[in-house]
């Protein structure tokens, strides 16, 4: 009983203190000017908190900097973080709560499933949402969520890049698509096949096969590639199989081009395949390590929190910058004006100079094509 009393008193004191504090803040910023409310939704507790918390920190760092410089359009920016523990059924509540708190923009969510569940609610409320980490291709490509943007490449971005590169740069007409039957390799190969088939006859898939990983010999597949008359091979998988296939192709005097993914964009591939690796194309994550903004953001994180930033930190940093920049350029938080600004204005971020395409995917984020030249991967400049 006594303990309960004590707790109640404590609670009252805290409440009073908070009320006083809020009153202080509200009066301090001037009552006429409403702050810009940035909702940050994602996993902030539970198993996947390590994916969600770096985004909160990124938003805090950007907002601190913006507020110190006088805010946006003369308004301060306020962060409202809400936890969805990466669960779709909770994400809908998270979204409803953020809307009831009258947020102007949403940064999040983190997981694709939770993002998808929440997007419909935001759409009905006319809110703009930007995720630093949801990679499910459907989120942008289905066209169901025109209010959704992201600063990370979709799962199919590599396949898209490889196919575009093969068709537009290498100008090949006949392509063999191979994979190693694994989740990663096969998923990529299926997208590649889909994109080639959707190219309106610009090129065709002449062979689509899975090879057995770890086999001693791939000569039958190599003969099949030759018989199909493929000008290029797109391979989804990892370097041990890729190097064997490339070596056997070259030993059978087959000059077919070889295009693969970031499972192959690995120095072990070059080490193992040796001279045969030369000329092989592979897509890989764009290198941001030389971007001074990325170094500065990382440094700011270390200074503020005393640790290295976590997952998707730079993507979230870029997303927050892009959102606030759009507000500044649009001159309001009206979502139609914001959408126009996001698609027309470029913004300098740790990920590079980015803008957004019609579907909401970031332009300038994601993967680049590399080619092995004299034993090293070199980025292909188009």
């Amino acid at each position: 009983m006594v303990g309960d009393m004590g707790k109640n008193v404590f609670r009252m004191v805290i409440t009073a203190f908070c009320a006083a504090l809020m009153w202080g803040v509200a009066s301090g910023s001037g009552q006429a000017i409403e702050p810009i409310r940035l909702g940050v939704a994602g996993a902030h507790s539970g198993d996947l908190a390590s994916y969600g918390l770096p985004t909160v920190k990124a938003a805090e760092l950007v907002v601190k900097e913006v507020n110190a410089a006088g805010g946006i359009l003369g308004r301060q920016v306020e962060i409202l973080a809400e936890d969805d523990v990466c669960k779709p059924e909770i994400a809908t509540n998270t979204a409803t709560r953020l809307i009831s708190l009258k947020v102007d923009l949403v940064l999040g969510h983190i997981c694709s499933g939770a993002t998808k569940a929440a997007l419909g609610i935001y759409k009905d409320a006319g809110l703009l949402v930007m995720s630093p980490s949801a990679t499910n291709p459907e989120l942008t490509q289905s066209g169901d969520y025109p209010n959704f943007y992201r600063t990370i490449a979709a799962d199919d971005a590599q396949a898209r890049l490889e196919v575009d590169f093969a068709l537009d740069v290498l100008k090949v007409k006949k392509i063999a698509v191979l994979h190693d039957k694994g989740d990663y390799g096969k998923g990529l190969a299926e997208y590649a096949r889909k994109f080639i088939e959707a190219s309106d006859g610009q090129a065709q898939v002449v062979l689509y096969e899975g090879v057995t990983p770890g086999a001693v010999d791939y000569s039958a597949v190599v003969q099949k590639i030759k018989r199909a008359g493929a000008e290029a091979v797109i391979f989804g998988g990892y370097h041990p199989e890729a190097s064997k296939i490339v070596m056997q192709m070259r030993k059978k005097r087959l000059p077919t081009l070889f295009i693969s993914d970031d499972g192959v964009k690995d120095d072990t591939f070059i080490k193992v395949a040796g001279e045969y690796a030369d000329g092989v194309y592979a897509s890989g994550p764009r290198d941001v390590s030389r971007n001074p903004l990325a170094a500065a953001a990382t440094e700011a994180h270390k200074k503020a929190y005393g640790s290295e930033p976590g997952a998707f930190f730079l993507n979230a940093y870029a997303a927050t910058q892009a959102l606030l920049n759009a507000v500044a350029k649009a001159g309001s938080t009206d979502s139609a004006a914001l959408a126009r600004a996001l698609k027309s204005e470029f913004v300098e971020t740790p990920l590079g100079r980015i803008s957004f395409d019609a579907r909401g995917d970031a332009i300038g984020v994601g993967f680049s094509m590399y080619q092995v030249k004299n034993g090293v991967y070199v980025e292909v400049r188009q």
Binding site: E209, V216, S219, Q223, P240, K244, K252, L254, K271, A273
Partner: protein
């Protein structure tokens, strides 16, 4: 027709890779009725030894043929020592135990050797130099069959003939056959059974190492796990051809290799293993002892 020929030759070379490893399996099984699961690992050890020796000799600037021969020889001797040791540690103490015990012991040996190499060497893939040089007269046919493949094919055939001759015509061959027929009786008439079994293991291991060096220089890469899949496929080839039979292992290898090659060529490589193991089931249904195996009456 060209396509058929290419697939057929591809199947033959793949089959000869299996056969070269299968010979050791089948020999050991023929003599003591044990499936030596560590055989694939001896193959892997042979490849590693070959790589180390070849790298060393390249530093000394020897010519390519000398390196190939020396690396193979050293790998064979080294692997023979391993075979001898493995037999002595893992199988000999279990000679009188039930058939299951040495089998489990063999699996344990296989896991041990794999992880030993992983720890002592590396878990990465290592490039293996092409020790078998490209022969000039093979160049017009390179798109069908490479020099390395031709060498592997010829070596497999030679080894098969040599082994058959050893077992049929030499003194140790006769002792092997006697041991295979009846260990107790062979001992009674003065055959040193332990020595015969040791020699069998050493020969089998040396062949695996030879296979390791040749095949690795054809594939161009090795790591600690290559023995597993190669071992499984070679074991399948040995069973297919009739385990215990020397020509059977080679025939089994060819049949398996060609089946895989044609399955990939005419159907899809997605179903390569389905066809290979489907064939194994079919053959075992109609010929339980394998293609060339003799259905021996169970000794009571």
């Amino acid at each position: 027709m060209d396509y058929f020929l290419e697939l057929f030759l591809g199947g033959l070379t793949r089959g000869s890779i299996y056969a070269l490893i299968a010979l050791g399996y089948t020999m050991v099984y023929g003599i003591i009725g044990l499936i030596n699961f560590a055989h694939g690992e001896i193959y892997m050890l042979g490849a590693f030894t070959g790589l180390i020796v070849a790298s060393l000799l390249t530093v000394f600037g020897l010519n390519q043929y000398a390196i190939l021969v020396l690396a193979s020889l050293v790998a064979m001797v080294y692997a023979a020592a391993y075979g001898y040791t493995v037999e002595k540690i893992a199988y000999r103490p279990l000679r009188q135990a039930s058939r299951l015990s040495p089998l489990i012991s063999a699996i344990g040996m296989s896991i041990f050797l794999q992880n030993y190499v992983r720890l002592a060497q590396t878990s990465d893939f290592l490039p293996f130099p092409a020790l078998i040089p490209d022969l000039a007269f093979m160049e017009p046919y390179a798109h069908i069959i490479g020099s390395a493949e031709l060498v592997i094919l010829l070596v497999t055939a030679m080894v098969m003939l040599l082994l058959t001759a050893v077992i049929r015509f030499t003194r140790i061959g006769r002792a092997m056959r006697a041991t295979a027929q009846d260990k107790g009786m062979a001992m009674l008439v003065g055959v040193d059974v332990n020595r015969v079994i040791s020699i069998t293991f050493m020969i089998g291991s040396a062949l695996a190492a030879l296979g390791g060096v040749l095949i690795a220089s054809h594939i161009g890469q090795i790591n600690f796990a290559i023995g597993f899949i190669a071992g499984i496929k070679a074991f399948t080839a040995a069973v297919l051809g009739g385990i215990g039979s020397i020509p059977g292992a080679v025939l089994g290898g060819f049949v398996l290799g060609c089946t895989e090659s044609f399955a990939t060529g005419y159907v899809s490589s997605d179903y390569e293993d389905v066809f290979a193991f489907g064939l194994l089931v079919l053959i075992l249904v109609f010929r339980p002892a394998g293609i060339l195996g003799r259905a021996a009456a169970e000794k009571v």
